[in-house]
Point group: C2
Chain length 338, copies 2
């Protein structure tokens, strides 16, 4: 929505600001660099290379695919990858044995049919609403199955192929998880907590902003309705503050799902911390944001209460607003320290 | 949010209903099965296997990674993969030559440093807001770079490795795109159009529902506020109808971004069709949904206008509602046929 600026200096400044805003972003990048370096050393150094051989390149792929910003998301993606690989491995070995036992001529036909079936079934399942979070898992099942059964067919030993692949992926997964957890971990739970508290404050700010504008506005400078709503409202401070809250549904759900995977940490020292309650609270808060947006809509409507009427009730309006914002801020603070 | 049902029969019925709701879902699954089968035939059949060798397994990986529901999303993902691979390939060849020219001892150090740098830079860049849509591209750059430079180091010929990888990926990409475009294509533009029209109707339905409930409610059966809002409102018809509209921001943006990649098709026979206007209209419509939700909030507030007052103004309220819903439906229809 913001216009791209082509000035090089500005670009660099904005990147710098983005990095400074949250130092975790820089730490995450350095961690990722370190993780791929670690796994590459397994090939670059002579000793581990002689043990593992060239198959270890799969570990690099795993680190690159599993790298996620938060610990919980890394665990969840790692689980998807591990589970997908194991399911695909077992399935591939079973079908490969079956195909072998049927005979040399029927073998490619059985393999081809099984590839078609696995492709169709995994693609359908990842569309099902309850399986959408496991999309990566289904992708992994599909390509691991194809790789194992096809290279097993050409190189004669599907079990060996599956095992080689499996331990490379396990090494990659362990490195990715270890770097993510033990070096400056970024917790999804912490982010979820911070995000919710910020959203409470944003809703309170937006409410204050709307009422302030309503009481200031003497109706003298109302521009044409359609133009105002379509072009200017996205830039108004009240709307801008509320916008991230209004569209936060997907973000909270993904953070909540990630946080469930995390062990107790920092100020959340209990197992089974009720992270999904945060998601529920965010839904109710979003509901408050809708009401604030309805107030914001009143600022833009053509029919307005006369200015002197508004001034007459100014005190009452202001008082109700103050009570409401105080309540919202108090609730946010309560979560923040609780 | 809905309770999981463990009855097997119900599960199968719900999957069956999901498939029947939109036959495209089944077509997509069969298409994907067909695409992986096609690419596997390159290895299973003797003739192409002798031409391409075992390196063609990378084509399978590409098909599995590129498979997306709509044509636009496939193009966009394919572009990310192609661009990422080419950037990584050029970078890897350049650094490999540099490392070779520096000498046998310094070579692994230069390679290690370059891997760390590429890992850190790509991980940072994919966090930048303006690069978030290209996340896959950065992942691809990272693992392709590592794979080429590391296997080039061990097998001696980075250019050969890069080229082998490149044509396998190209073959996989071409198969994925061809199957997606030429066999029952599912267009993101079409989905975007349909989704927007549906959202107009949903907002109109929700508005009608709210007003109907407001006029019916005689205040006799008001349960405790907190319980109602927290536990029951997600199940009310008005809220349920509106919910997908309220949370549609991310969906519209991703469909809009995908639609931009699609060639003219069906009833959108022009190049540079203004898909992003759909996204803007959806934002304004979401604004209307916020107002409907504010009305919905009134149904749940403790202080209510007396029943006989509501009945007195019933006709006017109903008339204003009818005008508003008619306008919304008319606008939706206008988009639908226009």
């Amino acid at each position: 929505s913001s216009k791209p600026s082509f000035s090089c200096r500005e670009q660099i400044l904005s990147v710098w600001k983005f990095a400074k805003e949250d130092i975790n972003r820089v730490l995450f990048s350095l961690k990722m660099g370190f993780a791929v370096l670690l796994v590459s050393l397994l090939i670059l150094c002579q000793a581990p290379y002689q043990v593992f051989g060239i198959n270890i390149v799969w570990a690099i792929l795993t680190v690159a695919i599993m790298s996620e910003y938060t610990v919980g998301a890394t665990f969840s993606r790692g689980f998807n990858r591990a589970f997908g690989t194991i399911v695909a491995g077992i399935l591939a070995i079973a079908i490969a044995q079956l195909a072998l036992s049927i005979g040399r001529i029927a073998e490619p036909i059985v393999i081809g049919l099984s590839i078609f079936t696995v492709g169709a079934v995994t693609s359908f399942m990842k569309l099902l609403p309850s399986f959408v979070p496991y999309e990566t898992g289904f992708r992994v099942i599909l390509f691991t199955y194809c790789l194992i059964i096809v290279s097993g067919y050409r190189m004669g030993n599907p079990i060996r192929t599956a095992m080689d692949r499996l331990y490379s992926i396990a090494i990659g997964g362990i490195i990715a998880v270890a770097v993510n957890v033990f070096i400056f971990p970024i917790w999804a739970g912490e982010q979820l907590h911070k995000e919710l508290v910020d959203n409470f404050n944003a809703v309170a700010d937006a409410l204050e902003e709307c009422v302030k504008k309503y009481l200031e506005d003497d109706g003298s400078e109302h521009s044409e309705f359609s133009k105002t709503v379509l072009d200017e409202f996205p830039d108004e401070p009240a709307y801008r503050k509320c916008r991230s809250t209004l569209n936060s549904s997907a973000k909270f759900e993904s953070l909540g799902n990630s946080a469930k995977w995390e062990p107790p940490h920092g100020r959340f020292p209990h197992f089974f911390y009720p992270w999904l309650e945060y998601v529920k609270v965010s839904a109710v808060l979003r509901y408050c944001a809708y009401e604030v947006m309805a107030l914001h809509g009143i600022l833009h409507s053509e029919i307005q209460a006369p200015y002197n009427l508004r001034i007459t009730f100014q005190e009452e309006i202001q008082e109700a607003t103050n009570d409401a914002t105080e309540l919202i801020r108090y609730l946010g603070k309560d979560i923040s320290v609780g």
